[in-house]
């Protein structure tokens, strides 16, 4: 008897869970017309992912790209341009999240390892499209995030010299690298370009972080040498040995 009661209660629970919130047109029947919402096509998902990335939402961008292609963690650039675009988005999403985001199917890794993965994918994409400034700019940004400053600088500075660098993030990375190399006026110019291009100036705030770091380091060094003077400008040559460039 108890079993029967449980069965009825369970059945009622199942049926009530499936009941429509609004009574169906057919007299309060216990079923509803479920609207089938088709999943957006991969081209639309990828296009949306690109917009998400441009809009400063790498998490959503990665989700949409992964929804279009589930195997991006192991994917290599190939003949499918749409998939290449999805791979680019996933790599840049990882870069712009500072390695916090994990691509579906990726094994456990540190943020630095994820950034290295992203840089590798961007390198592979760049090798497929050697004359594409957009891809090269992405690569520069990815290499900078992965700590490969010298390689990053080569790509980003070349593009910026020709006014072909197309992202605020790219200029932000370049500004940081230029500052670290002591190219302060170029760094300021890159920062200005970043700020002009960015929809969110926080993107360019990244460029200021090393400035502070280096300035603090300079101050500390000066204090150690006993040469610190209020208002003394930082001489990057002093720290050339510490820089990766």
């Amino acid at each position: 008897m108890k079993k029967a009661l449980f069965a009825v209660a369970a059945a009622a629970a199942v049926l009530s869970a499936g009941a429509p919130r609004d009574a169906a047109a057919c007299g309060g029947a216990l079923w509803e017309e479920r609207v089938f919402v088709p999943k957006p096509s991969p081209p639309k998902l990828v296009a949306q992912a690109e917009k998400d990335l441009e809009g400063g939402n790498p998490r959503k961008a990665l989700a949409n790209a992964s929804s279009a292609y589930g195997d991006l963690a192991k994917a290599e650039p190939g003949a499918d341009n749409l998939k290449n675009r999805a791979l680019r988005i996933s790599a840049l999403a990882v870069v712009r999240s500072k390695g916090e985001l994990k691509v579906a199917g990726q094994k456990e890794a540190t943020p630095q390892e994820r950034l290295a993965w992203a840089a590798k994918k961007l390198e592979a994409l760049s090798a497929k499209a050697p004359d594409n400034p957009t891809v090269e700019g992405d690569l520069g940004e990815g290499l900078a995030a992965a700590g490969r400053d010298l390689d990053a600088y080569g790509h980003l500075a070349k593009l910026a010299d020709k006014d072909l660098l197309g992202t605020a993030e790219g200029y932000s990375a370049l500004s940081r690298l230029q500052f670290a190399a002591g190219l302060t006026s170029k760094s300021a110019k890159s920062l200005a370009r970043c700020e002009a291009m960015a929809s969110d100036r926080a993107v360019c705030g990244l460029a200021k972080a090393p400035e502070k770091k280096v300035a603090e380091k300079a101050k500390a060094e000066d204090a150690k040498k006993g040469t610190a003077k209020p208002g003394t400008k930082f001489d990057p040559a002093v720290f050339a040995g510490d820089l990766k460039i």
Binding site: D131, P133, T134, G137, S199
Partner: protein
């Protein structure tokens, strides 16, 4: 000795200076005057028709025009047939919603003049001049002949292939004032503009025309101010007497005209005093002070006008036109205006190197802006130098659109 060496040089320099000045002088009116012997010596050497055939294929004239002896371009590359199918609702896209969307935005380039029997109608020199410097010949047609990258020699070859080699003519023998009256009574002004003379009344043509033929005919009707440059007197008379006998696919109706009336009309076309409209240079609006973002420029300019040709096909999600792979004799410039980064990535220049579309041109104007302004000069018929006007063969951007682009560039191209 020194003086004797310098003097001829100075004279030569002065002569060269004044000659250059004379070339640039723009006449304010053109008066053919009374008895004009319009038997002209050929202005152009005659081209080679075999090379002309090759040039027509190279510059893909068959993407818009019907050309005798040349197979029409494939449907997906044929601008006019694709646009016609969209306008008439016959185009079948993978996504039916796209067809409806395109139908709402495609308004022109669904008709283009055929190049049948060009030699029976036009002077060779006029064909060459027009190919080298296309202008707004057909005021009711939104799209124009684009300024292609052909040389004058290639233009001559094309004219030769089309059979337009003759310049020989008879003396204009009709009565111009009777010709003017005949044009008014026969309803020529229903379709044709004749700028530079008193406006022709838009009375309906004296023969019945279907609405479709009338619409197409009106759009294709050239401004008659150019008739004297384009046609010889004798060809004008033949054409007026029997348009379809001259060019079977023409929309020009066979207006009942006696030989005398046809001569009178041709005489008016040749001799009427035409005021040359003063060239009003395009006036740029001052840059906007409010912030202009990429999203606005994209919506109002790039996506609306440029994307059809300048976008990577796989970015266009089925909305791509000819793509970005070159065409009409132009190499692929690989300009992708479908995204912010794509815009920044520039073009492949004549040297095969990537360069920014924002880099300063000859007078410091960013190249993108130069191209948009050049299109206005092309429409005005002005000589234009190496910068090709954009959008190619289409109506120029409005002053407000150009202001938007200029403001965006001057503000540092914010996203």
């Amino acid at each position: 000795m020194g003086n004797t060496t310098i003097r001829p040089l100075a004279i030569w320099a002065a002569a060269a200076f004044f000659a250059a000045g004379c070339d640039k002088k723009t006449p304010t009116s053109v008066d053919a005057g009374p008895p004009v012997p319009i038997s002209m010596a050929p202005k152009e050497p005659v081209g080679d028709s075999v090379r002309g055939h090759a040039a027509i294929e190279k510059y893909e004239c068959n993407r818009c025009h019907a050309v005798e002896g040349i197979v029409a371009a494939a449907p997906q590359k044929h601008c006019v047939s694709c646009h016609t199918e969209i306008v008439e609702g016959r185009f079948v896209a993978k996504d039916p919603a796209k067809t409806a969307e395109w139908k709402a935005s495609v308004h022109d380039l669904d008709v283009a003049p055929s190049l049948i029997a060009v030699g029976k109608r036009l002077r060779g020199s006029a064909v060459v001049d027009y190919l080298m410097l296309p202008h707004d010949l057909r005021p009711n047609l939104a799209a124009n002949m684009p300024r292609l990258g052909l040389s004058r020699s290639e233009a001559r070859d094309i004219a030769a292939y089309l059979g337009a080699t003759s310049e020989e003519d008879a003396v204009a023998s009709g009565d111009p004032s009777a010709g003017r009256k005949a044009m008014e009574s026969k309803g020529c002004g229903a379709c044709h503009a004749f700028s530079g003379v008193a406006a022709l009344p838009a009375t309906p043509p004296v023969v019945a025309m279907s609405a479709k033929d009338f619409s197409a005919g009106k759009r294709l009707a050239p401004d008659l101010r150019y008739a004297r440059d384009r046609m010889t007197f004798s060809k004008m008379v033949s054409w007026l007497r029997d348009p379809r006998g001259t060019k079977p696919d023409t929309k020009m109706p066979a207006i009942p005209l006696s030989d005398e009336e046809a001569r009178d009309i041709a005489s008016y076309l040749v001799k009427a005093t035409q005021e040359v409209p003063a060239l009003v240079p395009f006036r740029r609006l001052p840059p906007l002070e409010r912030k202009v973002t990429y999203a606005e420029v994209d919506a109002k300019v790039f996506h609306k006008t440029c994307w059809h040709c300048h976008a990577e096909p796989d970015y266009a999600i089925g909305d791509g036109g000819p793509g970005n792979s070159g065409g009409f004799g132009f190499p692929a410039r690989k300009l992708n205006l479908a995204s912010y980064e794509g815009v920044a990535a520039g073009i492949v220049d004549d040297k095969g190197e990537r360069s920014s579309i924002f880099s300063p041109g000859r007078d410091g104007t960013p190249r993108l802006l130069e191209a948009l302004l050049a299109r206005h000069r092309e429409e005005e018929g002005a000589a234009n130098g190496p910068v090709r006007g954009m959008p190619l063969g289409y109506a120029p951007l409005t002053a407000e659109q150009i202001q938007l682009v200029e403001s965006w560039i001057s503000q540092g191209r914010p996203r």
